[in-house]
């Protein structure tokens, strides 16, 4: 089994603060380490700052008028806070953005090919990987000539994932990969994550709402609330934590609650608020 403690650190986020628009403080000192070759999950409620953390790492904040005002981010020991996103991709870090962000006017296949933009290993290799992606997502093969803007939500999500795989990265930042996917596809996506992780040694940092699945596949996890890390630890440990169970897995002592029963359930104040 993968042991997070013995692995060398690939990515180290050290106490970063992020401010949007010069006034809105969103991350209030977030630190995390991503071990090489592992799957790290970033969990937390809506607005906790997961997306912001990922964008801070991949340097996409500037275009949203956000900036990292404190702390440092190092990748393979080098400070990457000043790198532009393209340079980061060339170093092997790629992000799948929340909300799919496909290139609407390009066809599905062209979308996938843009993923290989930074590659220099020839068209044959790219072609091979394209086939690999189609094997992972047969639905995309059917829709390969459609404009991405006209594909369904799930198809776009697959396209975005496939596009990232096409760049043959060392590390993938996944922002809510399961959003809007049918159950068996969710499982499938995580299977793929696992396969790529184990087969090719790609490191994953994934932000997820679907805590259940995420913790099943991840090696370690961080829980973010209100711009702060409130819990961290190996995934197995987190899964057993009663607070996590209650608030993120929706389990009570008697197993899963029915959503129908929530009606009568009085909300307790969150333990962290």
């Amino acid at each position: 089994m993968f042991d997070t403690r013995t692995q060398e650190t690939l990515l180290d986020v050290n106490n970063i603060e992020v401010i949007y628009n010069h006034v809105i403080l969103v991350l209030k000192g977030v630190s995390l380490t991503v071990p090489k070759g592992g799957i790290t999950a970033l969990l937390g409620g809506n607005g906790a700052g997961k997306t912001t953390t990922l964008k801070a790492i991949s340097n996409l904040l500037a275009s949203e008028r956000g900036e990292v005002t404190k702390g440092s981010i190092t990748y393979q020991g080098d400070d990457i806070t000043a790198l532009d996103p393209a340079a980061l991709v060339r170093r092997g870090v790629i992000q799948v953005m929340e909300g799919r962000h496909c290139f609407e006017h390009l066809t599905v296949e062209e979308n996938l090919l843009t993923g290989a933009y930074t590659r220099r290993d020839g068209s044959a290799a790219i072609k091979r990987d394209l086939e690999m992606v189609y094997d992972y997502f047969p639905r995309l093969r059917e829709r390969r000539k459609s404009q991405a803007g006209y594909t369904s939500g799930g198809e776009q999500q697959m396209t975005a994932m496939g596009r990232a795989l096409m760049s043959r990265p060392q590390m993938i930042l996944l922002d809510e990969p399961s959003m809007g996917l049918a159950p068996q596809l969710v499982e499938q996506i995580f299977q793929i994550v696992k396969a790529v992780n184990e087969g090719e040694g790609v490191t994953f940092l994934l932000a997820e709402q679907n805590t259940n699945v995420a913790l099943r596949y991840a090696h370690q996890g961080y829980i973010l609330e209100n711009g702060r890390v409130v819990m961290e630890g190996p995934a197995a440990q987190l899964r057993e934590n009663p607070d996590v169970k209650e608030f993120y897995l929706g389990m009570s002592d008697e197993g899963r609650k029915s959503f129908r029963e929530v009606r009568s359930y009085r909300r307790r104040k969150r333990w962290l608020a």
Binding site: I19, N21, H22, V23, L25
Partner: protein
């Protein structure tokens, strides 16, 4: 903590939805009004009226109008010059045909006529969107200018096609023609600008304004939640053209006094007013004024500084002035892409937090 809102509680929805919910803003606003109506008219001279304040107010009205259409309803228009021409020629025909009717009524009617023309050219907006819509409005721009240039009836068959505003009075004070005094010109423009800004504010905060903004932000979703896009767009065209028509009427009658359609209402005017609202802030009433001030005042100030104070040759000054204006536009956009209005609000946000950041 100079600027604060703490302790300023609202106890009714009415209070909460007033224009300046924060007390300090309200006072600032009253102070500006007091100066504009109570002090400036007594101290204004011809230079300030004719070269600065009158054009500023008139462009502010035009910018308000375009902002309704582009900033609030999201329909890009490059027909402003043409619509201003409609206002100008309408007021000219009315002034000369009915010399005994008050000029104020003529100006309002000119706005109404322009609104009609605006609706006509707004019809394609149902199908054509975004920058493509600019083509419809450009067609209006070029066609209207051509029309006013070509049909002698519009310029009362004068030899050159120039129209000249005769003298008309309001409360026995000449506001058009050569005898109009600086305070009179300033005041009539101010009154129009004030009333129209107030109307614009009312329209944009009510249900009509929400329809416009819904169409702007996502027209399909707006339609699905029940906004009739045709009516929303056309009403925006109508209101916008009404404002712009009035601006055109004032521009011709009060400010310039004489005009030739191609020169005074050409495509450049359309662009100028569009620049104003982008620089000032799309979808902002304050932004319309700020943008107009920026583009009317800045060149005058620069000119006076470079030529008057630095003694540069006029041509060099004019060229450098272009470069400075261009550079400033870009700089402002980089600092705050949403215009001066947003910059102002951000400054207030910071002030509110001051002296503690975040």
């Amino acid at each position: 903590m100079i600027y604060r809102e703490a302790g300023d509680f609202k106890t009714s929805y009415r209070d909460d939805s007033q224009t300046f919910p924060i007390r300090l803003d309200r006072w600032g606003y009253y102070a500006i009004l007091a100066v504009a109506f109570g002090i400036i008219p007594f101290v204004i001279n011809d230079y300030w009226a004719n070269a600065v304040l009158v054009p500023f107010l008139i462009y502010a009205i035009a910018a308000l109008g375009l902002n309704v259409l582009t900033g609030y309803a999201g329909q890009v228009s490059l027909g402003t010059g043409g619509f201003m021409a409609v206002g100008a020629y309408a007021v000219y025909k009315l002034m000369t045909a009915f010399p005994d009717v008050s000029i104020v009524i003529h100006i309002l009617l000119a706005g109404g006529i322009t609104a009609g023309v605006g609706v006509l050219f707004g019809l394609p907006s149902l199908r054509i969107k975004g920058f493509y819509l600019a083509v419809a409005t450009l067609a209006a721009q070029f066609f209207l200018v051509w029309l006013f240039n070509k049909v002698p009836w519009f310029y009362n068959y004068s030899a050159s096609g120039q129209i000249t505003a005769p003298t008309r009075t309001v409360f026995d004070q000449a506001v058009t023609g050569p005898a109009a005094t600086a305070p009179a010109k300033y005041l009539i423009c101010l009154v129009f600008a004030f009333v129209l800004a107030w109307v614009a504010r009312n329209l944009t905060r009510g249900s009509l304004g929400r329809k416009w903004m819904a169409i702007r932000d996502m027209d399909i979703a707006a339609e699905i939640i029940g906004v009739n896009p045709l009516r929303a767009k056309l009403s925006a065209f109508a209101v916008s053209s009404f404002f712009i028509g009035i601006a055109g009427a004032l521009l011709f009658a009060v400010y310039l006094g004489a005009a030739e359609v191609g020169e005074a209402f050409g495509i450049n005017k359309s662009f100028l007013v569009l620049f104003m609202i982008i620089i000032g802030g799309l979808g902002s009433i304050f932004g319309s004024f700020a943008g107009a001030a920026f583009l009317v005042l800045l060149p005058v100030l620069l000119k006076n500084f470079l030529v008057g104070n630095m003694g540069w040759p006029t041509d060099l000054a004019a060229h450098i002035e272009l470069m400075i204006v261009g550079a400033l536009i870009v700089t402002f956009l980089i600092v705050e892409p949403h215009g001066l209005a947003r910059l102002w609000r951000l400054a207030k946000d910071k002030l509110r937090l001051w002296p503690f950041p975040h």
